[in-house]
Structures are given as structure tokens and as C-alpha cells.
């Protein structure tokens, strides 16, 4: 028997925060929104980095611009850190629920019609996370023992005494192993994004019959362009297209 009581407006006593953090759909909203914010950063970061193809002075001026606006940079860093924390927390929490939902596996555990990207989100995300840690130690904190060069990046200065980011990137990527790590990592990042961006719009309910297919295609195309953009930098350094002016 269904009583009126079962169908009260809100029998749970939950508020918006408990809906967001406890329900499966709420946690998916958090995962999607934090993911889209990180996606926006990935695009912005790429556009900044691509200035390396213009001239050493251009990317160095951009680096100095960021250093001169350290308050804004730290604001962005804290925001990104928050997004990463929420993205990882929801990933762990939802994955645990998802694993628990199927205690006995099928004889053949490959789910029908699911793309490789969609099945490997946790793994691609984890590897990208460890890559981010490496990337921060490499080019942001500039720890000497991770760069594979017998030189500290801190010592690289331009003629006017500012930090020489151009030379740092060129010297950093002249190490084939380091460059290879970067290419593989951005490849996995883009595999992650090719599914994640479209799925974020789906999780947030921001799709319909008209532009759902457009979002899904755009998600794959933009991810591929991001891969081409990011991978082009280490590859250009390795092939000598960028960095002739930096002494070997």
C-alpha cells in the first residue's frame, strides 16, 4: 500500500548540500562542474603555452605577466586545487559505489557498446593526476632531480634578469624521456576529456536532441586538438623547430 506519507514533498529532511554531496546525481553534478572548470583551464593553459612558437620574448613576457599578477594567479591556483579535490573525491566515492553495485562479475566483463575512453576514466584520470604532480615539480617548483638535466632551472635568466621560461622549456624537453612522458600524459588527458566533456554536459542535464550530438562530437574534436596543441611543444623542441637560440 502506498500512503500519502510516502509521497510528501520532501520526506528526507535533506537540504541542497546534502542532496549535492550524498545523492548519486548530486555527486555527478560536482564531478561534472569541477571537470568542466578544469577543462577550461586546460584550454587556457594551452593557449598560453603555444606562445612558445612566436618568439622567446613573447612567452617570457607572458611568464612575467603571470608573476607580476601573483594575487590573481594564486586565486586561480586555489580554485583549481579545490576543483581537483572535488573531482577526485567524487571519483573515489562514486567508483566505490559503482564497484559495490556489481559484487559478482560476468564471465565476460566487457560491457556492451561502451567506448574505451568511458571504461577507463578512473585509470586515465589517476595517471593524469600523477603527471600533474610531476609537471608541477618539473616546471613550477623546478626541482632539479626530476628534470633529467644537470642544471637548475632557477638559474636561467633573460638579459634583463627575469626568469627565462623559454630556455627552461627547451632544455626540459630536449630530454627524450621527459618529452615522451609529456606526450603520453597529454594523450591520456585527451582520452579522458573526449569522454568527460560530453558526459559532463549529460550529467548536468545540459543536452537535448538538437545539440547533444554536437556536444559529443565537439568534445572529441576539441580533445584531439588539445592533444595536438600540447604534444606539438615537446615534439617541436625535440625536432629542433623550437629552441635553436638556446645553447646545447
Amino acid at each position: 500500500m502506498i500512503s500519502r506519507h510516502d509521497f510528501e514533498a520532501d520526506a528526507s529532511g535533506m537540504n541542497i548540500l546534502s542532496y549535492l554531496f550524498k545523492s548519486s546525481l548530486g555527486r555527478k553534478y560536482i564531478m561534472a562542474a569541477s571537470g568542466l572548470a578544469l577543462f577550461a583551464f586546460v584550454i587556457g593553459h594551452l593557449l598560453g603555452n603555444l606562445q612558445i612558437f612566436l618568439a622567446p620574448e613573447v612567452i617570457n613576457r607572458y611568464a612575467q605577466f603571470l608573476k607580476d599578477n601573483i594575487e590573481l594567479v594564486w586565486g586561480a591556483r586555489i580554485g583549481l586545487l579545490g576543483c581537483i579535490a572535488l573531482h577526485i573525491w567524487t571519483a573515489i566515492s562514486l567508483s566505490a559505489d559503482n564497484k559495490a553495485a556489481r559484487p559478482v562479475a560476468y564471465a565476460d566483463a566487457t560491457p556492451p557498446a561502451a567506448s574505451m575512453a568511458s571504461r577507463t576514466m578512473l585509470m586515465s584520470g589517476l595517471i593524469v593526476f600523477f603527471f600533474i604532480l610531476y609537471h608541477l615539480l618539473h616546471f613550477t617548483v623546478q626541482v632539479e632531480w626530476v628534470n633529467g638535466v644537470e642544471k637548475t632551472f632557477h638559474s636561467l635568466k633573460t638579459a634583463d634578469g627575469h626568469h627565462d621560461v623559454y630556455s627552461m622549456v627547451v632544455i626540459g624537453f630536449r630530454q627524450p624521456l621527459v618529452a615522451l612522458c609529456y606526450v603520453i600524459a597529454v594523450g591520456l588527458l585527451c582520452l579522458h576529456l573526449s569522454h568527460g566533456v560530453g558526459a559532463s554536459f549529460q550529467s548536468l542535464g545540459l543536452k537535448n536532441k538538437a545539440w547533444g550530438p554536437v556536444i559529443d562530437t565537439a568534445s572529441k574534436v576539441v580533445s584531439f586538438l588539445i592533444f595536438v596543441g600540447y604534444a606539438s611543444i615537446p615534439l617541436a623542441v625535440l625536432t629542433g623547430i623550437v629552441g635553436d637560440s638556446v645553447a646545447r
Binding site: 520532501d10 545523492s23 546525481l25 559503482n98 559495490a100 564471465a107 557498446a113 567506448s115 568511458s118
Partner: protein, 247 residues
């Protein structure tokens, strides 16, 4: 046909279960998949063995009772087809066929290939209906509904609640089922007054039953015998978001 069947046998919820292999005689290509299992069971009964328990009812693809994962695919993987409408001519003469039950924490195995799907009933009890005062039948055209909306609501209402979506999903998520049930009510004017509480209550019950979350793999849509679209999950995500924002 000279088939080899690998069938999941499990005495009850407490039994860990195992695969048992059969090589049935007398299977012909014109049989339906369930008729093939009937033949196997007759052989087993004649030999004094326990027949394979499996769910079935209408055998014409409309009731949603049959629930077999055949070669890793719920209902056998034929487009828009339930297991009862699947025919043996779709298989090779010497095929090995693996038959398993729906596998999900929320669908405990009762016996062999039979699972308990009352979790779905409890979700429906939380809002898969409209509360209307009964009385004289209203005039048929007193509520104007556009063709597009009524078509979409009917597409959602096609769901027969078989649970293939849960069985196919790598997370054993019930999102396709719940979103179809929420949408077919929420789209129509009769369902609008209770739309917000419906989606909140049904989602809460879905979570409490222990189904997983949606990771948008599209497995559910691919195996759904009624071709329910992933778009209903988007719509439910939107309805739920609006409902929790309103409080």
C-alpha cells in the same frame, strides 16, 4: 543444432553459484531461446535432475519478465529484442552459449537465472504514478498536449521494467529505467504538479537500493529492448537539479 550451453546454476542467495555445461539434443533453429531452454529442462526432468530456473511470462516481448544475459549481453544483444523474441537461427550450429542472470547487488539471485527485481517496484512506489481524484471520466480533449510532448512521453512509457539497463551497465546503474519512469510522468500535464518531489523521491530510492551511478557509457541504451534513449537520463539530471535548487 549441436550447441554447448554454459548455464549459471545457483541454489539461492547464499550459494556462491557456478557454471554448468549442457549439450542439449533436439534443438532446431525455429525455436525461440526460451523454447530451447524448455527442451533442456524437459531432458533434465526426465533424468531426475533439477531443471534450470528462469523467468518468463508473456513470451511476446511486452512484459519484461525474461532476464537472461546471453554471451555477455542482456537479452542476447539483438537490437530492440527481448530474450523471448530471440530465435535459435541467430546462433551458429556449433556455438557455445553462456547464459547468466542479471548481475547487480540490487537484484539478488533467487535461483539459477531468476533474480529479485522488487527494487524496481519500490522505486515506482516512490513516485511512478500520478495522484488524481477519481470520479467521472474527464473529457478526452480538455487537456491540450502537443504531439511532440505526447510522443516523447510515450517513448519513455515504453519501458517494460525488465532491468536489462542495469544488467548491461558496468556500474549496475538503474538510471535509464528511473529516468524513463520519471520522464513519462513529468512530461505530461497530469504529472507536472508532483514533478519535483517525484524525481527527488525516486532518485533517493534508487540510491538506497544500491544501484550504481551513470558514467554515460551508453551500454543501457544499446541493449534496451524498447530502445529507451539516453536523452531521458539527461532530462532526469535536469529535472533533479531544478528540483533540488527549488528546495
Amino acid at each position: 543444432m549441436n550447441l554447448t550451453l554454459k548455464v549459471w546454476r545457483q541454489k539461492g542467495a547464499a550459494d556462491p553459484g557456478h557454471f554448468e555445461t549442457f549439450q542439449p539434443k533436439g534443438i532446431v533453429e525455429d525455436m525461440s531461446f526460451l523454447e530451447m531452454l524448455d527442451v533442456v529442462n524437459e531432458e533434465l526432468i526426465e533424468a531426475g535432475k533439477e531443471p534450470i530456473a528462469f523467468d518468463h511470462d508473456c513470451r511476446e516481448g511486452i512484459c519484461g519478465t525474461c532476464s537472461l544475459v546471453i554471451n555477455g549481453k542482456p537479452h542476447g544483444g539483438q537490437k530492440a529484442t527481448t530474450a523471448c523474441q530471440l530465435h535459435m537461427r541467430k546462433f551458429g550450429k556449433w556455438d557455445t552459449i553462456t547464459i547468466e542472470p542479471w548481475r547487480a547487488k540490487a537484484f539478488p539471485v533467487v535461483k539459477d537465472l531468476v533474480v529479485d527485481r522488487s527494487a524496481f517496484d519500490r522505486i515506482i512506489q516512490k513516485g511512478g504514478f500520478v495522484s488524481v481524484g477519481t470520479g467521472g471520466a474527464p473529457d478526452a480533449n480538455c487537456l491540450p498536449i502537443s504531439k511532440e510532448v505526447s510522443d516523447e512521453a510515450m517513448d519513455a512509457a515504453q519501458c517494460i521494467g525488465c532491468g536489462a539497463c542495469v544488467a548491461a551497465c558496468k556500474n549496475a546503474s538503474a538510471m535509464l529505467f528511473v529516468s524513463a519512469k520519471v520522464s513519462h510522468m513529468n512530461l505530461l500535464p497530469q504529472g507536472k504538479p508532483e514533478a519535483d518531489r517525484r524525481v527527488k523521491n525516486m532518485v533517493r530510492q534508487m540510491d538506497e537500493e544500491g544501484f550504481g551511478a551513470c558514467t554515460v557509457t551508453g551500454s543501457c541504451e544499446a541493449v534496451c529492448p524498447k530502445e529507451i534513449s539516453l536523452n531521458f537520463i539527461t532530462k532526469m539530471n535536469r529535472d533533479y537539479g531544478c528540483a533540488i535548487l527549488k528546495g
